[in-house]
C-alpha cells in the first residue's frame, strides 16, 4: 500500500453521507451549486454531489471570462454532461469589465512594464522553492505582441495590485454561485483539495467561500483516484492543474506549489505524519535538501495564509452565536 492509497468506494460513501448530513442537519438547504472549471477538483466535487443527493438537486455553473483557456468551457460542459446535471452559463467578462478588473490589472503591470497593453499577455510566477533557499517572491512574465518574453521581479505595490485585481474573478464567481444558491434554496459546494485548503491557495471570500467543501481533506493523488472511480472523463483527468486566471497560461506549480503535485502530496503527507525528510525524499524522487525546503515552505505558507481561514475576529465573544 502507498501512503496516499484510498478505498475509492468507501471514501465516496463516506463523503456522500457527510454531504447529505450537512445539507439536512446544518445547512438546511435542498441541493447544491457547484462551479465547474473544467479541472479535476470541481469535476470530482460535482460527481460526489450528484452521488450524494441526485442529479435533480445539483446545478453546475460555468463561468468563463475573457482570459479563460479555450478548453475551460468545453471541459466544464463535459463534466456536467457526464453526470447529467443542469448547467447554467454565466460569462463574467462584463461584470469584470464593469468593476475595472482588466484595467486595474493592466495599470498594475505597467508599474513594472510601462509598455504593457493591447496584444500583450502575462502571468505571475513563483521563484522555485525546491531549487534554492530563496524567499518566495513573484515575477511577472509577459509576452509581447511580437512574441518576446519579458520577466521582471514584482515589487510590493505592483504584486499586491495584480493579485487584488485578479481576485475580482474568484469573488465574482462566488457572487454568482450564491445568487443561484439563494434563488434555488441550495448550498454552495467549494472545490478545494487538501493542498489548496492547507496551503491557502484560494481567495478569501472568493473560491475560499463555500457552505461545504467535500474534498478539502483529500490529497491531489486521492482526488485523481476518486476521479477514476467516479467516471470523470479522461480529458478532464489529463488536464494539468492550472489557475486559469491569467491571460498567459499558468500552471499551479509555477504560481504557488514549488514542485509538481505528485511530489508535493508526498511531502505534505510526510510533514503531516512526522515522516523524516530523508524517507519522504526517496518516496517523492527529490533530494533530502529539496524536501526540507518544501517542508519549510509548507510551514511558511500555513503561517502566511492563516488569515485566509479566519472568520471575522471579535473584541469579545458573543456566546449566543455558535457555529453549527
Amino acid at each position: 500500500m502507498g501512503w496516499l492509497d484510498i478505498d475509492p468506494e468507501a471514501e465516496t460513501a463516506r463523503i456522500c453521507l457527510r454531504i447529505r448530513e450537512v445539507l439536512a442537519r446544518s445547512l438546511k438547504r435542498r441541493g447544491l451549486v457547484v462551479a465547474v472549471s473544467g479541472g479535476v477538483d470541481s469535476a470530482v466535487t460535482l460527481f460526489l454531489c450528484v452521488r450524494a443527493v441526485g442529479k435533480e438537486r445539483v446545478v453546475a455553473l460555468l463561468m468563463p471570462e475573457r482570459h479563460s483557456a479555450e478548453e475551460t468551457l468545453e471541459l466544464g460542459r463535459l463534466a456536467a454532461d457526464a453526470c447529467g446535471v443542469r448547467t447554467i452559463l454565466e460569462d463574467i467578462t462584463g461584470i469584470l469589465e464593469a468593476v475595472g478588473c482588466y484595467r486595474r490589472y493592466d495599470e498594475a503591470v505597467r508599474r513594472v512594464l510601462p509598455g504593457y497593453g493591447e496584444g500583450w499577455t502575462s502571468k505571475i510566477v513563483l521563484s522555485g522553492t525546491a531549487e534554492s533557499s530563496r524567499f518566495n517572491v513573484f515575477h511577472l512574465v509577459a509576452r509581447s505582441p511580437a512574441g518576446e518574453i519579458v520577466r521582471e521581479r514584482l515589487p510590493l505595490t505592483a504584486y499586491l495590485e495584480i493579485v487584488a485585481a485578479t481576485n475580482f474573478k474568484q469573488r465574482t464567481r462566488k457572487m454568482m454561485e450564491y445568487y443561484h444558491a439563494d434563488r434555488l434554496h441550495y448550498a454552495v459546494a467549494g472545490t478545494p483539495n487538501r493542498l489548496e485548503y492547507d496551503q491557502g491557495f484560494f481567495v478569501k471570500n472568493g473560491d475560499g467561500a463555500a457552505d461545504v467543501k467535500p474534498i478539502a481533506h483529500l490529497y491531489k493523488t486521492q482526488v485523481y483516484a476518486l476521479a477514476r472511480h467516479l467516471g470523470v472523463p479522461e480529458e478532464i483527468r489529463r488536464r494539468p492543474p492550472t489557475t486559469d486566471t491569467y491571460s498567459l497560461a499558468q500552471g499551479q506549480d509555477e504560481f504557488y506549489f514549488a514542485v509538481p503535485h505528485e511530489q508535493f502530496d508526498v511531502c505534505l503527507y510526510a510533514r503531516n505524519h512526522g515522516i523524516a525528510a530523508e524517507r519522504a525524499a526517496r518516496e517523492a524522487g527529490l533530494s533530502t535538501e529539496q524536501v526540507e525546503r518544501v517542508f519549510r515552505d509548507i510551514e511558511a505558507k500555513r503561517e502566511a495564509t492563516r488569515y485566509l481561514h479566519m472568520a471575522p475576529l471579535l473584541v469579545e465573544e458573543v456566546p449566543e452565536v455558535r457555529s453549527a
Binding site: 521563484s127 534554492s132 533557499s133 530563496r134 524567499f135 518566495n136 517572491v137 521581479r153 514584482l154 515589487p155 510590493l156 505595490t157 504584486y159 499586491l160 511558511a300 503561517e303 502566511a304
Partner: protein
C-alpha cells in the same frame, strides 16, 4: 562573517525601527530582535517584499534576485551586514 562597526549600529537601529513600526504597529514588547524574522513569525513572504522595498528606497540599492535569501534578509543582524556589504560596493 563581517562584524558590525559603530556606523552600522545606526543602520541596525533604522532597520529595527522599520520592523517594529511597520509590522508590529510600534509595539516592540516580546519582539526578539535577534531572532529569525520568519521563525519568529514577525515577517511573512509579503513582509519580505515590504522589507526589500524599504531597503531599496531608503539606501538607494538594488536587491538582486539571488540576494533574496535568509543569510541576507532573515534577521536584523543579517540585514545590517548585507547593507554593509552592498554599501561597500561588494557583491552580497
Amino acid at each position: 562573517m563581517l562584524s558590525l562597526g559603530v556606523g552600522d549600529a545606526a543602520v541596525r537601529e533604522e532597520v529595527k525601527r522599520f520592523i517594529v513600526d511597520n509590522f508590529l504597529f510600534g509595539d516592540s514588547e516580546g519582539f526578539d530582535e535577534n531572532a529569525s524574522f520568519l521563525e519568529s513569525g514577525v515577517i511573512d513572504s509579503t513582509g519580505i517584499l515590504e522589507l526589500v522595498t524599504f531597503l531599496e528606497e531608503t539606501y538607494q540599492i538594488r536587491v538582486e534576485d539571488e540576494e533574496l535569501v535568509p543569510e541576507n534578509l532573515g534577521s536584523i543582524d543579517a540585514v545590517t551586514r548585507y547593507l554593509k556589504r552592498k554599501r561597500n560596493g561588494g557583491a552580497a
